[in-house]
């Protein structure tokens, strides 16, 4: 099983707020069940901007936080010509921003659910699911037959 993560989920790993523990649990449990986590590389910009807003004096320049974003077991996808075209079509048809459409199109490309905490995306797209629903799906997944040596 694959799950595509919206920036609203990845950002929760960095900020201490409602849902942060669920986001952490999602990363941890996906790893034990061998579930591939995917995100658009737009997440680097959106999560980076969120981190920037919350940095304090003692967090220095924030590079350590950005480093962790690269270490997470998430496969970041970039857009190609086909996806970019599909994204703008979806944005226009559904009256959403191009940024929203990019996350949707990545989930469609991978035939996967988009895990998001964004109310608008959850309301408009059938394949958009909350972290709570994603955790339930992960629970139902069997443990991998082949365990690593």
């Amino acid at each position: 099983m694959n799950l595509v993560l919206d920036s609203s989920v990845i950002a929760k790993l960095f900020i201490d707020e409602k849902g942060s523990d669920k986001a952490t649990e999602l990363l941890e449990k996906s790893s034990t069940k061998d579930i591939a986590l995917i995100a658009s590389n737009l997440a680097f910009y959106e999560v980076g901007n969120t981190i920037l807003k919350h940095l304090r004096e003692k967090d220095k320049d924030g590079t350590e936080y950005m480093n962790q974003l690269f270490f997470l077991n998430i496969e970041y996808n970039s857009l190609d010509k086909t996806l970019a075209g599909e994204a703008i079509r979806i944005a226009k048809t559904n009256d959403i921003t191009y940024y929203d459409a990019v996350h949707i199109i990545v989930s469609q490309r991978h035939e996967s659910a988009l895990v998001t905490e964004d109310k608008e995306l959850l309301k408009k797209f059938k394949n958009a699911i909350s972290m709570k629903d994603a955790l339930e799906r992960i629970e139902k997944e069997p443990k991998p037959l082949i365990t690593t040596i």
């Binding site: 900020i15 849902g19 941890e28 997470l72 940024y99």
Partner: protein
């Protein structure tokens, strides 16, 4: 000795035993220096382990390479998640999903 892509510049042998003393693993690592530096790692395992890998349809070398890369990614991720759990930034007045929504709508 000067090193080209195909030259073995450095060799080392690693030997270890697990707690039970049953499994003996020896790895010899040859480092090839060049534009894309790579190393050759040979691993000594029980014959039974090799057979099990082959039964799955892999050659031992491709299987070990796949597992090494996967496990490294997982370990980095585990450490990153643990680090973030201990160093979470304080929340603001708005949730991150509200902040990101504002960013998307205003760009």
């Amino acid at each position: 000795m000067s090193c080209s892509t195909r030259t073995i510049c450095h060799s080392e042998i690693i030997r270890s035993r697990d707690n039970s003393g049953k499994v003996y693993i020896a790895a010899s690592i040859d480092v090839h220096k060049g534009v894309n530096m790579s190393v050759t790692i040979s691993v000594r395992v029980d014959d039974e382990v090799k057979k099990k890998i082959e039964e799955l349809g892999y050659t031992p070398s491709e299987y070990i390479k796949k597992i090494l890369i996967q496990e490294l990614k997982k370990e980095h991720s585990r450490r990153a998640v643990a680090w973030l759990k201990a160093h979470r930034l304080p929340s603001g007045e708005k949730s991150v999903e509200e902040e990101i929504r504002e960013d998307r709508d205003s760009r």
